[in-house]
């Protein structure tokens, strides 16, 4: 985790590791609808810290009921050891909003996840933690999985990818290259490891103005909860 102060008033405070370019080994998880219950099962959600989730990543898939490693699971294969890029199927991260899923992936060592699509909340959570979620077309993901299986994974070797966020480009140095789209706001957050709260507080005066006088009559938001609150 990077630390240190950027601009004034907390704005631009670096709280997450910036993501500019990354080259690393690929692990493949070629299945769709990987939900956050699989990524980090519920029994591990009781921690009050942001750390300590890596060992529990994909717990029920990585480990057999007796606690031993499940050699059949993709991440337990020799070529997946040390992987920092995960290539997966569509709708990755669906289900629960638990950010613990991203904390677990990040702590395990993944810096980027490539899939044809992501669930909305998971995608937002990635961005908050310096993990780059890259949407490629289903054909491009299929091609990556083929190359992983042929050149790296299946052959016992390691398949590597380079991801350049500044250029919005993924390539393997062996003929595969693809561009990806990302919203400018998220790109900037990731490139600079920005603290979103600090960024929002730059427009604190606008929030205060909204609170003061800009109650919108249409939905009557200043007419709302009224009653004295019971204190339990």
């Amino acid at each position: 985790m990077g630390v240190g102060e950027g601009g004034g008033a907390g704005a631009g405070r670096v709280v997450i590791e910036p993501f500019v370019r990354h080259t690393g080994a690929v692990a493949a998880l070629p299945r769709a609808d990987v939900d956050t219950d699989q990524i980090i099962p519920k029994q591990f959600l009781k921690r009050v810290e942001r750390t300590g989730f890596g060992p529990a990543l994909f717990y029920d898939w990585r480990f057999r009921p007796d606690g031993s490693l499940n050699p059949a699971f993709e991440l337990n294969r020799p070529e997946a050891q040390g992987a920092t890029i995960l290539v997966a199927g569509a709708n990755f991260g669906c289900g629960s909003s638990r950010e613990h899923a991203v904390w677990a992936l990040s702590e395990y060592g993944f810096r980027a996840i490539l899939a044809p699509s992501f669930a909305d909340i998971f995608y937002a959570n990635c961005c908050q933690n310096g993990v780059l979620a890259v949407c490629l077309s289903p054909e491009e993901i299929a091609e990556l999985l083929r190359r992983h299986a042929a050149g790296g994974g299946g052959g016992g070797g390691v398949y590597r990818l380079s991801i350049d966020l500044a250029e919005q480009r993924v390539e393997d140095g062996a003929g595969f290259a693809a561009r990806f789209a990302i919203e400018a706001y998220r790109r900037e957050m990731l490139l600079h490891g920005l603290d979103e709260i600090g960024r929002t507080l730059l427009v604190d005066s606008e929030i205060a103005a909204f609170e003061c006088g800009m109650r919108n009559a249409e939905c009557g938001i200043d007419e709302r909860p009224s009653g004295p609150r019971e204190r339990s």
């Binding site: 907390g10 769709a32 009050v48 029920d60 009921p65 950010e99 706001y185 427009v203 249409e218 007419e223």
Partner: protein, 479 residues
């Protein structure tokens, strides 16, 4: 004049700032907090020396990991206890109201918000839980967020959100007897898929939606996330206002009159356009049962377990094969008749008083099948108290159900209520993911009457035939 959807009206009313790079900064009217996704957020505030900007718009409860047994006993799991203690300490330190285990109003966050009248039309509501979409039943824009976003809202009372697309889900026709809101939303998810509404906010419209009670509408909106939508909405109407009138936190007097007047405007303008439209004929929906490991793997109870070979792509065939292997099911097996071991009645989807009434009606005077363990976990302590006033607890207890205290319980199995490996469960919850209710557990999602009938029969049954049989019995008894 630009024609606007309900979503657009609520969105527009909350834009504080537009970032040049895309998203908007939206003001949050109500922030609901629970023990599992908040401790790291409060810790972040502490480390940065920040406070909760609007504690009076922030309400906390304990639900996810709380035991649902005897409240007089100490919590056995020290890690769970630590998480509950952390929320209590954070609520005290930051001045946030907490419905704790001693509160008579404690319950699942998405049950107590509406119950208290905290949830109101036109609001933006957030919570660190994906089923926050529930509150959209009132015409609120309600979204689940991650813990970093929880911290952001605590600190700024605002949410950064890139404008989603809109989808109209029009439900026409009249649902048949024995068909509930749960069946309608499961059928819709089965139709559009679990990522069918990703990137969208769904607005549910049509006669079949208008005919629903508020609690039924909550069931529909609750499962929007299971179709990939971060939020689902239903325009408020007289049903909404009647539900809210007199609730503890609803406006009163002149403020109520003004509020209702404003709320009446919260409808999509006729002719307003959506990015996508889907329709579903409620009259054609039979009671639904999931057969796989995602809510989209669903079919009518009259159907059978599908054959992977019938799916068009390799990916689907693999996914279905994998699901059937996990679920211990063979292609072609009729769903009706499948033996079950456990029944769970509860959750933010189906843990409200109407759900318990509907289930009790099926159970009344009958016994849970031998070998089946069935439990009722009311969505809140107020739901529990109401059910006890109506004698529903006796109906369930006499039938052999466990009658428990409020919490998320076996919906996600964070507390001691879990399935054992291989156990098959008829569940009124919202997710049938692998291991969701306990490692190796096999979950079939369905409506409360369907789950209640399964408890009694010891196998999955078509509740419509069940109701008919009961009707026949009554006639025989009367003659």
């Amino acid at each position: 004049m630009t024609l606007r959807t309900l979503f657009r009206k609520v969105w527009d009313a909350h834009v504080v700032h537009r970032f040049p790079e895309g998203p908007a900064l939206l003001y949050v009217d109500l922030h609901l907090v629970h023990e599992v996704t908040s401790p790291q957020a409060f810790e972040g505030l502490r480390q940065a020396g920040r406070r909760v900007r609007r504690p009076e718009l922030t309400v906390a409860t304990v639900d996810h990991n709380v035991p649902t047994g005897d409240r007089a006993l100490p919590i056995e799991d020290p890690v769970s206890a630590r998480q509950l203690d952390a929320l209590a300490a954070n609520a005290r330190e930051f001045g946030v109201e907490l419905f704790d285990l001693r509160s008579p109003s404690q319950g699942i966050v998405h049950v107590i918000g509406p119950e208290q009248g905290l949830t109101q039309p036109g609001m933006i509501i957030v919570c660190g839980d994906s089923h926050t979409s529930t509150h959209g039943a009132f015409g609120a824009l309600a979204v689940g967020i991650g813990t970093s976003e929880v911290e952001h809202v605590l600190a700024t009372q605002c949410l950064v959100w890139s404008e989603p697309r809109t989808m109209e889900a029009r439900l026409t026709g009249t649902a048949g007897p024995g068909v509930t809101a749960k069946d309608l939303i499961l059928a819709l998810i089965g139709s559009i898929g679990t990522a069918g509404a990703t990137g969208h906010v769904i607005e549910y419209t049509g006669d079949a939606i208008r005919a629903l009670s508020m609690e039924e509408r909550m069931t529909v909106c609750n499962m929007s996330i299971e179709a990939g939508a971060r939020a689902g909405m239903i325009a408020p109407d007289e049903t909404t206002f009647a539900y809210l009138a007199g609730r503890p936190r609803a406006p009163t007097g002149a403020a109520w009159t003004r509020a209702v007047e404003a709320w009446r405007g919260l409808q999509s303008d006729p002719g307003a356009t959506y990015d996508r439209r889907v329709t579903l004929d409620a009259a054609r929906v039979p009671p639904q049962v999931t057969w796989g490991t995602s809510p989209g793997m669903v079919t009518g109870v009259t159907g059978a377990v599908p054959d992977p070979a019938d799916y068009p792509t390799d990916d689907e065939r693999r996914a279905v094969s994998r699901a059937l292997e996990y679920m211990g099911l063979e292609p072609g097996t009729p769903l009706a008749g499948l033996p079950i071991d456990r029944v769970f009645l509860g959750s933010c989807t189906n843990g409200r008083i109407e759900d318990l009434r509907a289930a009790a009606q099926v159970v009344r005077g009958r016994r849970v099948a031998s070998g089946v363990r069935a439990m009722v976990v009311p969505g809140s302590q107020l739901v529990r108290a109401q059910a006890e006033r109506e004698g529903l607890d006796r109906v369930f207890r006499e039938a052999g159900f466990e009658w428990r205290n409020a919490g998320c319980s076996m919906c996600l199995g964070m507390n001691p209520d879990i399935l054992q490996p291989g156990e098959r469960c008829a569940s009124t919850s919202n997710r049938n993911f692998e291991g969701r209710q306990g490692r190796g557990g096999r979950t079939h999602l369905m409506s409360p009457p369907m789950a209640a009938a399964a408890a009694v029969a010891g196998r999955l049954v078509d509740v419509r035939e069940w109701a008919w049989e009961r009707e026949g019995e009554r006639e025989r008894a009367a003659s």
